[in-house]
């Protein structure tokens, strides 16, 4: 089981800020692909990924219990 967090525009696209998914041992790119298929309203363009609060590459593996967050272009400051 993994937790997936959404923020800002993506949170509004989905109408939710969090998903629990029964997956593990998949790469970031694979998770993105699955989510886009499951949620056609979701765009993950220009979006970075964090695993357990650290930025992750597209090929990084996601493990059971990980918290994955999608980070659309930031605009703080």
């Amino acid at each position: 089981m993994i937790t997936v967090l959404f923020f800002a525009k993506q949170q509004e696209q989905l109408g939710l800020d969090k998903l629990e998914r029964a997956e593990s041992q998949l790469a970031v790119a694979e998770l993105k692909q699955k989510l886009i298929e499951d949620y056609p309203e979701l765009s993950l363009d220009h979006t970075m990924t964090a695993i357990n609060e650290e930025y992750a590459d597209e090929d990084q593996m996601i493990n059971d219990q990980d918290i994955v967050a999608f980070i659309p272009p930031v605009s703080g400051g």
Partner: protein
């Protein structure tokens, strides 16, 4: 004592400044980002900031570490407010203390540029004629596959 904080309260500038004052410091540069009413012709009514707070605080700390690697005698504090802000409200306060003034300016500038690159905070603008989540899509076409690395000189 350095502070790296995401808060939904009004930011106390004095507290941020006081947190970096030390006897070794002769210069404190403070940068305050406030809500601007006009951007070109567009009139902002209010702003909403949202964050991934736990990760955002880690990223703010990371900026402090990067700064100390570049400017060893510098102390940094950064506080970013989230929630709904009105015109002229302070969204971010950065305070940098250093023995001499040049580094305080350089490190402060570095901090604000890095905040805009790596800290998971998002701004939604409410204009007189609409609303939009801000995020510079155009300038980030290669963003998708890029993990932010520490900047090289």
């Amino acid at each position: 004592m350095e502070m790296y904080k995401i808060t939904s309260d009004e930011i106390d500038v004095n507290q941020v400044i006081t947190s970096v004052i030390r006897p070794e410091a002769g210069a404190i540069n403070t940068f305050i980002g406030t809500v601007r009413e006009f951007t070109g012709n567009k009139q902002t009514v209010s702003l909403q900031y949202e964050a991934y707070p736990s990760m955002a605080e880690k990223q703010l700390k990371r900026i402090g570490i990067e700064i100390r690697e570049k400017w060893p005698n510098v102390q940094t504090s950064i506080v970013h407010r989230i929630g709904k802000l009105a015109i002229s409200d302070m969204a971010v306060v950065i305070a940098v203390a250093s023995p001499h003034r040049a580094e305080s300016y350089e490190a402060s500038r570095y901090a604000i540029e890095r905040i805009k690159e790596i800290v998971p905070i998002w701004k939604k603008e409410y204009w007189t004629d609409g609303e939009e989540w801000i995020g510079d899509q155009l300038e980030n076409t290669s963003y998708k596959n890029r993990v932010p690395k520490e900047e090289k000189e």
